[in-house]
Symmetry: C2
Subunit: 461 residues, 2 copies
């Protein structure tokens, strides 16, 4: 190890509480990857497991003084490589900062970034309240990561995404100063909307050490409709008609490869001959929900559904939702996967799904498509045999073509996972040079040294 | 006129369509003020009434080339002086850009900035949809101004503020480039959240020439409860209990001076002896709304209401809402006013209202308080005789003290009107030097010459 690195480690250890700094390579290993599993992950100089905002400040100050890269990370559940470690960097883990304080009087939660989404939901529920955003990974993803990526989920079609629930935050800037942005107020327009700017900034502008979240009254037990379709077009046409006429609290899509993978893992009796399946919920008052689901069922019939199954039993409905949530791990059992997150305006969903099927056929790569169909956000999963180099190569080509297709259809390269390092090379194609330059100006204004999560979102300089 | 100004006018006239550039002082007069009525408004070099994005680009390019200030304006209904003209500046009016396109399939509206909020609501309603944000001025304020100030309104307590409905926009940058941010997608996390940054930026970062708004299904006819209270504390305690236990779609507050002003203007039989009155609505399904209003009525009784009036008739309820909306013009009949917009966390609402009463007594200035109580956002109206210099002086001192009080209570100096020029001197007290500097870094990164709305939000350099 060269001497500046050793000196930096000495100073980190000197300034931070005992057992906060990890430098043992074996112990650091767990902090080198997120769920993007980047094979090129580097080896950090040290991992700092911060216990409080002051620890984060001390770490960032030392990093700034030495020009050292800082890679913030929460639970490591990111899918775009936003927390992939770099050689010589400090990995700044927030996994020990997990306090949650619920304030029922103002319906807010004050949360440290390492708390899991599910823990926030549970703490809110204990006070008769609800935190809506629900990534499929909610049981093992952190709120800090959710805010950093502006995470979505299944209920977003009705309840919006993470940014819609963030009222304020404490953030450590690139020079180590800590600032409070926003606060426990629904309305605040004094100064630029910095809170909203930091949401979704993927650790490139600052390190979030506390967030203030808006909570809402609890969701009512949903009524669930599961509809199978003999054609992809029947399902996507139904999605468009449903979003136009009704307001479901969930509108999920799985294509045949996804249905088959889930059925293989669950044996719950899904229709494995269907081209696609929709899982739809309405969470209005029971009578209203029943009427809404009846409209939706008729739309499915009008679009050629082969089978509709309806249940007002919330637990039975949840079984189908869990089947949908386990789609990614189920498909992962079939090989290595490249996980997409492209989104399009709803009227283009059919073109996207058919176009992906064409890409799949052209490159002879299985692509299982699941989607938060109600907001046009799809997760095509490209499956390949890691031992088959040619297949891996084809999968990577197809991966890029799916993003190109989404852009061509007026869509985005990432709806809810973030750009990270995985999609950084495609960001300019999507944003165009002018908007990319605008992003870079803000990045440079807030992190002139470029020490915060270099290589994520923005190309390494 | 000095020659550079004359040259700039010549070039504006040469590059823009006929009848777009106004230089006649009498005709320009209508474009020098917004509703803040700043007595120090300057005289612009020219007013450009843009007809399209390209007109805005041409104007900003010429301004950039000559270092000329640009003051963007919509309908001129702003209350914080965000559109007050400056000597030698170009006033860039968007009042002719009023196209509205509703896309029912995706539940979106594509709107030019000069369209009125009420026109967007009407166009949405014609397609069975609803655009919720509802400033009291909705009949004469523009969407561009709403987005520029992140405007609020009465339904925000349940439905959120303008930023929650903005999915994308076209904006002309300080160098004249036009960029598209966001788009017709509920989920998009590719790059920094620039759309959200531009919402509420008050024309200091760019000029918005088109916005994409999210629409929702229509609101149901509300049930309305009007409750009078013999004490301010009874009313504010009721507000806290109501927001904790229920989710009204409106929760408005008027104190005695406000009630009396409205009664004088309307003769609708309001209780002019009450210390305060709440106007509360629930817009759930009728049976659910009835149950919610019953809970709210009981809370009002528990907090000592002197009279509760309940109606499930939407038109009758709307009469009370209109009474509330006309509170500002009603109070304006009593003298000149200084209009406040301070907000606090709900549990501090009582302290704020009582503190304002103390400031009123100390300075012998009538302060009529109306409030979007359910989100802690208040509009104290300081009334003074414009012919009485001493009173005017006291009113201005009290105006500052109200902001100081809000800051001391953990609140904001502006909840929904914006900082503009009127509140710019207080912004640093509220944000603190670090957050202000963060704001300035972003301003400088996006408008290095400082030509966009100088003096609004940021001090003139």
């Amino acid at each position: 190890m060269h001497s500046t690195g050793a000196l930096l480690i000495d100073r980190l250890i000197a300034e931070l509480p005992t057992d906060t700094v990890i430098t043992d390579p074996a112990s650091m290993d767990a902090y080198r990857w997120d769920r993007a599993n980047d094979p090129n992950a580097g080896t950090p100089l040290a991992v700092v497991r911060a216990t409080c905002t002051e620890d984060v400040q001390a770490t960032v100050r030392l990093a700034a003084a030495t020009g050292t890269a800082v890679i913030p990370r929460g639970a490591g559940s990111g899918l775009s490589g936003g927390s992939t470690a770099m050689d010589g960097a400090i990995v700044l883990s927030l996994d020990r900062m997990r306090e949650i304080r619920i304030e029922p009087a103002t319906r807010m939660a004050v949360v440290q970034p390492g708390a899991f989404n599910a823990e926030v939901k549970a703490a809110a529920a204990a006070q008769g309240l609800w935190y809506p955003p629900d990534p499929s990974s909610f049981e093992f993803c952190s709120i800090g990561g959710n805010v950093a990526t502006n995470a979505g989920g299944l209920c977003c079609v009705k309840y919006g995404v993470t940014t819609d629930y963030v009222l304020g935050m404490t953030v450590v800037l690139a020079d180590g100063r800590a600032v409070n942005l926003g606060g426990p107020r629904v309305k605040d327009v004094a100064g630029l909307s910095l809170t909203k700017l930091f949401v979704g900034s993927e650790g490139t502008l600052g390190v979030i050490t506390e967030v203030i979240l808006r909570l809402v009254p609890p969701q009512k037990p949903p009524t669930t409709l599961v509809a199978s379709f003999p054609t992809l077009t029947g399902a996507t046409d139904a999605v468009l008609a449903i979003t136009r006429a009704t307001r479901p609290s969930m509108l999920e899509f799985m294509d045949r490869p996804t249905i088959r993978a889930v059925e293989a893992a669950t044996r719950m009796g899904l229709d494995t001959d269907a081209a696609a399946m929709l899982v739809i919920q309405s969470d209005d008052d029971p009578a209203v929900a029943a009427a809404e689901i009846a409209i939706i069922e008729q739309i499915c019939i009008d679009n050629g559904t082969s089978e509709c199954y309806l249940t007002a039993d919330a637990d039975e409905g949840e079984a189908f939702v869990q089947a949908r949530r386990m789609a990614i791990p189920a498909v992962e059992k079939q090989g290595s996967i490249l996980l997409e997150d492209v989104g399009v305006p709803i009227p283009r969903l059919g073109d996207l799904v058919l176009g992906i099927a064409a890409i799949s056929a052209e490159h002879d790569i299985t692509i299982a498509v699941l989607a938060h169909a109600g907001d046009g956000n799809t997760h095509p999963l490209l499956v390949f045999d890691p031992a088959d180099d040619a297949q891996r190569q084809r999968a990577h080509v197809a991966y890029g073509e799916v993003m190109d297709l989404a852009i061509a259809l007026g869509g985005t390269i990432t709806g809810e996972h973030g750009v990270g390092r995985l999609k950084q090379p495609w960001l300019e194609d999507y944003l165009g040079p002018d908007v990319l330059e605008l992003n870079e100006r803000i990045k440079h204004a807030l992190d002139p040294q470029g020490i915060l999560n270099p290589g994520a979102v923005f190309a390494r300089r």
